[in-house]
């Protein structure tokens, strides 16, 4: 039986969402004067057409009276979903007005890609895109990444308020941000540290690489946002390889790894709690996954004969593997070369890394290394049960930042459900692509679908401007499902159904 949510629930969700939309829209509005300074008058007015009504509606939304603003679990998760979708709608307006998108669906696709830190793009003529819209894309990545961390915080608080146990399958970051004030400060510090490191490091590296001073600030901002938030949007068709610099690639690797490492682990690293990090199960799986994907990619590149020397194999292999596991989706080569020049094994290793993704409690996508690890532990536990004498009790545990947890069936079930939903999403996305265009190879379709649902954004030339509306819609939904870990979308749909059909 469904219970209809109260009017107060709806009001509280609108108010909380309005706050998120207000911050996001003010950020877009602030880009308008920047566009004017850059001499892009039409982009400036496009930014205002998108941001101004959103600011007005958000301010009005925050005035809706409600008796309780308490963020329960349901309210928090529905708020997260509605905020993400509303922000994407706001960002889609200036993108659509730029004239670089075939239709509204393509602009909305790009907006969702931006706020979900995916990096896919259906922009036509990217290399002539106004610079203020490149900055808009970077703002979407930063806002989306920061919101992902803060929403995790809110959900954690909601779970605590309801005094229920936390399971690793519950959305994200269950252990990374204890205590709102402390956790928020820690999250801010993480974002600031990544941002400052990135701007200084990448800026210097780009300058040495020969990027002219006039374009250095915007190029630096867009690359840092793309790597540190795992957003992966690069404002040129040549990808990272267009900078022809191993130092730039090294800096981006550092930022990608930072963006895909949980805030808890980064905070422990800052406090020099190296033992805690070493013993943290999620971190161990993360490192193991990185090593496995790296090995698979490098062996694959060597076997395929893509590169004849060790240095290029290592350079492209390391960058591609890190970009896949951190779900950043950046590449050092033109995306088509993943299919035409990387052989079979290397792309297979990369797809596996993209599906698993980075750590829970970070900005990365995928179904997460912790879930992968818990599934493996569940299998080991079952095998042990079979081998042990009847009546024997065995407890399987794992460490998370200094605390020992015991594996329960709920953990394994939750992880298995998420992984299964991811796989269904990949199959659904690939099927739609194959249906839409018979020339697309199965390998390319699977890679693109995995890339979308894992919020990776690595495209191999499959998703291009002018896609059929049902392809853009399917992949827009996949990106949202991936970012909100399915539960958010299901909860939002259930909430709407409960409003219509629920018992009062």
């Amino acid at each position: 039986m469904l219970l209809a949510p109260s009017v107060d629930d709806v009001k509280a969700i609108i108010r909380a969402s309005a706050t998120g939309v207000l911050v996001f829209s003010l950020g877009i509005a602030l880009l308008a004067p920047v566009a004017l300074v850059l001499g892009e008058a039409n982009a400036a007015t496009a930014l205002l057409v998108g941001a101004a009504p959103a600011v007005a509606m958000a301010v009005l939304g925050r005035r809706i009276p409600t008796s309780s603003l308490r963020l329960t679990w349901t309210r928090a998760i529905v708020t997260a979903t509605t905020t993400w979708i509303a922000c994407a709608c706001v960002a889609a307006v200036p993108l659509y007005l730029s004239g670089h998108f075939v239709g509204v669906d393509a602009a909305f696709f790009d907006a969702v890609s931006g706020v979900t830190n995916t990096g896919h793009s259906l922009v036509a003529d990217l290399d002539h895109l106004p610079r203020s819209l490149v900055l808009l894309r970077s703002w979407m990545e930063v806002a989306g990444g920061a919101a992902f961390l803060f929403v995790g915080q809110s959900l954690l608080e909601a779970r605590r308020a309801l005094a229920t146990s936390l399971t690793p399958g519950d959305t994200m970051g269950e252990h990374v941000m204890p205590g709102t004030g402390k956790g928020l400060r820690r999250t801010w510090r993480t974002i600031a540290a990544l941002g400052i490191t990135g701007v200084v490091g990448v800026g210097v590296a780009l300058s040495v690489a020969g990027v002219p001073l006039a374009s250095l600030p915007i190029t630096t901002i867009s690359l840092v946002a793309a790597a540190a938030t795992t957003g992966g949007f690069i404002p040129n068709t040549g990808a990272v390889g267009a900078y022809h610099s191993v130092v730039v690639e090294f800096m981006l690797v550092v930022l990608m790894l930072g963006g895909a490492t949980s805030v808890g682990v980064l905070a422990a690293a800052a406090r020099r709690q190296h033992d805690r990090i070493r013993n943290d199960f999620s971190f161990q799986v993360y490192v193991g996954m990185l090593a496995a994907v790296l090995a698979g990619t490098m062996v694959g590149l060597a076997r395929a004969g893509t590169f004849e020397a060790v240095v290029p194999v290592a350079r492209h292999g390391i960058f591609s593997a890190v970009a896949a596991v951190t779900t950043t989706g950046l590449s050092t080569v033109a995306p088509e070369l993943f299919i035409s020049d990387f052989g079979v094994l290397a792309p297979a290793a990369l797809v596996t890394g993209m599906a698993v993704g980075g750590m829970l409690g970070s900005m990365s996508g995928g179904f997460s290394t912790l879930r992968m690890g818990l599934l493996a532990k569940g299998v080991i536990s079952d095998v042990r049960k079979v081998l042990q004498p009847e009546g024997a009790v065995s407890r399987v545990g794992w460490m998370r930042l200094g605390r020992r947890e015991v594996l329960t069936d709920a953990h394994v079930r939750s992880a298995a459900t998420t992984v299964m939903l991811f796989l269904i999403g990949i199959l659904a996305g690939a099927t739609v692509l194959l249906w839409a265009d018979g020339r697309i190879a199965l390998r390319g379709a699977l890679l693109t679908a995995t890339s979308a649902i894992g919020n990776v954004g690595l495209d191999v030339g499959v998703l291009e401007p002018g896609q059929a509306w049902y392809v853009t819609t399917t992949f827009t939904i996949l990106m949202l499902l991936g970012r909100l870990q399915w539960l958010g979308i299901f909860a939002a749909i259930g909430f709407v159904v409960a409003i219509v059909q629920g018992r009062r």
């Binding site: 922009v123 893509t306 080569v333």
Partner: protein, 233 residues
């Protein structure tokens, strides 16, 4: 005195009406975008894409296959970036002719410069999208190394304001260029500017400016009203 139910209905109706007004404003602005297309670049009319290049296969060269010296390599004529990216192995070491627009940043290095040279429709035929609004897929290009004095040719790369210099490059395709850490490159032997950079003269979209002004004024009005109400409390 209105009941809560009526108030809620009015709120929802107001919200839908606001969305409709915003939607009309956005679509009106979009449709009113002025277009001033650039000239079609007659680049490469005398160099149609080579038949020989199209007949090359995409089979990968095995790592132990004998390597060829540059002197042995026969020119294959004009190629497109799409063909080279789809079939890099077939063009490895070949001397080719390539036409394209310099875009993005020109990276000056010792002994030359790296450029990104696009040969898609926005580069060669139609010009930047904002000038005409006709969609012709995405961008496509090659990384081109311009050695020595050739680096000075690419002094006006394309961006949102202009179509950059269009070059005719005669060079060697390197599938895994050892001097670029294994990147796919075109190393220019000769290059010339066949079409100078051309600036877009896109006028301001007046309808969009009007809609933006109205929306901004409304937003400022709502914010001021909200602040006054808060100050009263």
């Amino acid at each position: 005195m209105t009941t809560p139910r009526t108030r809620h209905r009015l709120l929802i109706a107001g919200f839908i009406a606001a969305l409709a007004v915003i939607g009309i404003g956005v679509q009106w602005s979009h449709d009113a975008a002025p277009r001033v297309p650039l000239d079609v670049v007659p680049a490469g009319a005398e160099d149609p894409e080579s038949v020989e290049a199209r007949t090359l296969t995409c089979e990968r060269t095995l790592p132990d296959a004998p390597t060829r010296d540059l002197e042995e390599v026969e020119p294959v004529g004009r190629v497109s970036s799409e063909a080279v990216n789809s079939c890099p192995d077939a063009f490895d070491g070949q001397v080719v002719v390539y036409y394209g627009e310099v875009v993005g940043d020109v990276l000056q290095r010792d002994g030359g410069a790296w450029t990104l040279v696009n040969d898609d429709a926005y580069a060669l035929t139609l010009g930047p999208l904002s000038g005409h609004g006709d969609f012709e897929g995405g961008n496509s290009g090659l990384a081109v190394w311009l050695p020595g004095q050739l680096a000075t040719l690419a002094d006006e790369p394309g961006n949102a304001d202009r179509r950059g210099d269009v070059l005719r490059v005669n060079g060697v395709v390197r599938r895994a260029d050892p001097e670029d850490g294994g990147g796919l490159t075109l190393r220019a032997i000769q290059a010339e500017v066949v079409f100078e950079a051309q600036y877009l003269e896109t006028p301001v979209n007046r309808v969009q400016a009007l809609v933006a002004a109205v929306f901004t004024l409304v937003a400022i009005g709502v914010v001021v009203w909200d602040r006054r109400l808060r100050a009263r409390r």
